[in-house]
Assembly symmetry: C2
Homo-oligomer: 467 residues x 2
């Protein structure tokens, strides 16, 4: 673990471990030290802590039993989806028990007539997408990790993705939840219908709460009819500023693309050769623009959006690449963060959002930051909603304090522009020291009090979000 | 007031009134008894209570000053938008001060480049729509009262409307808020960007909280590009069941209309002659189907949806009526609840939502309820999201206990179907006795504790939501 924390929790005693085994059944307890490593981190490098025990339940009753014990014996429980988070949210910072939801992974129902899905939290995002697709339906949220991340984790972090520019984030698809409170009580929140305003919106309070308020055990999700057609245009630019001006032009002119993804020059240096377009590697910026909807209009829409790219200095525009090329391109886009991570000893994924109209200005200033703080910044992400993944790398951990300083400066800049320090990764452990940059003390104080309401004994994912 | 409540609050003393006047300025205090009546009720008939004082601030500092005093001197403050609510949420049930937000009504900014609006809470919904439209932008939420209701009230109740089937409710457009806590502190929540996951989602906790947690003083709203075209089809049916089967067919076949409004036979008896279609009055059900989007596709979309109506027993389908007829039709639709209210001495607007696939079944059973409980039920609403406004009327208040029994039975049925007792009006005062039908004690207990966190001294809109 990069941060040292003194633990307010005693190690699990043998009688407590016996009680856990008794309550949840031996079959779902993992205690073998060689297997605990897998639960010591998420996809955020550099932060790890071994749990003392892992519980991997298959029923909600097991979840309840574990939390009841934790609440009585005061041991920390860290809920975990499939470990693809990028903020250390699933790291058991005070050891104790990791509660892996991986095996509660049933798609309970895809209800075509009511356009909803009922799923357990361990379902993989892409599996739900496929199951919906088979019935002509669409579950839009599409984080880059969609082939390996869980719906429960998506809800815990309010995960976004490429389609957010048109379809919103996970929050917009969660109609209702079943969740276990830290005292073991089971609650149901929200509705199974398209809308409802009965009492406070606990559903959306739990979504994005990063497993600190309750453990989600079932989700009722909104589905849409699957869009009949999709079309894509790809544009290469000399620099990121022209690419971002194109983005502004596209959005200001009434287009609603379902993806507006970009890669900067540093990303193209790394992965440009894998892209199915000549000269991609030598370009200064890459923009992928996608539209979905009626077959009779999507091509015209991307044509219009391609024209805005040309108007704003695109050096090459490739309309409607075939589906093989499209798949290849998306694969490169999805793998870019892993490729960057593998290329650098120090890799810190930031996840800022700036107002759309400020993106070009903001990215213009990145080389200055990079030079001043001696880091290399790879920028890619969801240009359509201003969500820029700044992947900050350095060649040695020796310069970490300078790297941290640079990150702080960048986040300050983001907040001063009216932006936010996390668009979709969450705060977790990695960003809690920056929370005060964005949230005033009165706001944090309310949030802490809400945490206290849900988790009076502070046993659920302690040490996250707040310092 | 229909319900008798003993007040835990002392009447405002002359020194407290003087302190309020001093703090907020005489100009925004209304104490003239002849003017207080206007603030004694909302659009829900039969529930009224005069406030002792009305404060109508123009600045956030006045709101803060009033709440600070209320928190210290323990008098109730009932926030009020423009009084169009249908659940008694703005009725000052324990007298005290009504805080009217009507004069904080500036549209601060329509930011075309960032697709957001920044507004004060007293802005009228339709005024915001028009201001956005002038810049080619679109603010979708469209409650029937949109010409007279306020954005702040919309947010307080998470108001929906006809376009919810495609565009969602007010919640989906609130990105960030500025609000004053009951202790007078000012907080900012959420973001000015398209997404953000920094801490708990206080924004969406405040949305729909019916003015019981904080007073919203500024809203940052998401806007969309304005859809370039709209097209409509109207279908008349012998009975509501065929109309609802058509709705199911439309939604199950991948169509995404931007309105799917219905009127039942009782509504048509009342307003059918005002509709610009022959034979509307004699029909058993009326369905208005609207699509928006690219000009080249909307007509084809409504044609397809009209065909589903014919497949499901429509006796007449009128494609793409001219814009004059369309406006006339919408006006009738928007006025239907007022017309019903004016026709009956007892009028209770219910606002249930049932799963889409269950609508036909549900409405099939309404005549049984009507007969058993000796009421007349006018059903209309937003078929596309299962949100049915059941307007329950009776010819005399003498039969109120039977009416109440009938409502209870209907709401029980709704909940047993997986529906919700309020789709967009909220709980307020009118429905709090039904809250337990939908929310389990553990859920209500959490909500009460959250109320306690925000409003420790219970001075903000007391007596609402919870009994």
């Amino acid at each position: 673990m990069t941060e040292s924390e003194s633990s307010p929790y005693a190690p699990l005693s043998p009688p407590v471990i016996a009680a856990i085994r008794q309550a949840v059944g031996d079959a779902c307890v993992i205690q073998d030290p060689t297997k605990l490593e897998d639960f010591s981190r998420d996809a955020m490098a550099g932060i790890e802590k071994f749990p003392e025990l892992v519980v991997e339940p298959t029923t909600v009753e097991q979840v309840r039993a574990l939390l009841q014990l934790a609440n009585v014996h005061h041991f920390p429980v860290t809920p975990r989806g499939l470990g693809t988070g990028l903020a250390g949210g699933a790291v058991p910072v005070f050891a104790g028990v990791v509660l892996s939801m991986a095996k509660m992974n049933r798609i309970i129902e895809i209800d075509k007539n009511n356009l909803i899905a009922v799923v357990e939290p361990g379902v993989i995002n892409a599996d739900l997408k496929r199951a919906a697709r088979r019935q002509g339906l669409f579950y839009p949220p599409d984080p880059a990790s969609m082939d390996t991340c869980s719906i429960g984790g998506n809800a815990a972090t309010n995960a976004g993705g490429s389609s957010c520019v048109k379809y919103g984030t996970t929050r917009d698809y969660v109609l209702g939840l079943e969740a276990v409170l830290p005292n073991g009580e089971l609650i149901r929140t929200g509705v199974q219908t398209r809308k409802g305003v009965v009492g406070y919106d606990l559903t959306h309070l739990l979504v994005g709460s990063e497993g600190t308020l309750a453990v989600i055990t079932k989700l009722i999700l909104k589905l849409l009819p699957h869009p009949p057609a999709v079309s894509t245009v790809v544009a290469l630019f000399r620099d990121l500023t022209s690419a971002m001006s194109s983005v502004s032009a596209i959005l200001a002119n009434g287009c609603i693309p379902c993806a507006l993804e970009f890669l900067d020059r540093n990303c193209l240096d790394l992965v440009g050769d894998s892209l199915p377009f000549e000269s991609a590697r030598s370009a200064g910026a890459f923009l992928l623009v996608q539209a979905d909807g009626a077959a009779t209009v999507v091509d015209a829409e991307v044509e219009k959006m391609g024209a805005y790219c040309l108007d704003n200095g695109a050096i090459d525009v490739i309309w409607a690449p075939d589906s093989y090329k499209r798949a290849q391109m998306w694969e490169v886009r999805k793998q870019v963060s892993v490729t960057i991570e593998n290329s650098s000893p120090v890799y810190i994924p930031e996840d800022v959002v700036v107002p759309i109209a400020g993106i070009a200005d903001f990215v213009d200033n990145l080389p200055d930051f990079a030079e001043r703080y001696q880091v290399k910044i790879y920028a890619f992400g969801h240009a359509g909603d201003g969500n820029i993944h700044l992947n900050i790398t350095a060649q040695s951990r020796a310069s970490m304090s300078q790297v941290e300083e640079g990150i702080y400066a960048i986040l300050q800049k983001v907040v001063s522009m009216g932006g936010t320090i996390s668009g979709e990764h969450g705060i977790g452990l990695a960003k809690r020291r920056f929370l005060h940059l964005e949230l005033a003390p009165a706001n944090v104080c309310l949030q802490r009090s809400i945490k206290q309401v849900f988790d009076t004994n502070q046993i659920l994912n302690p040490g996250k979000i707040f310092q």
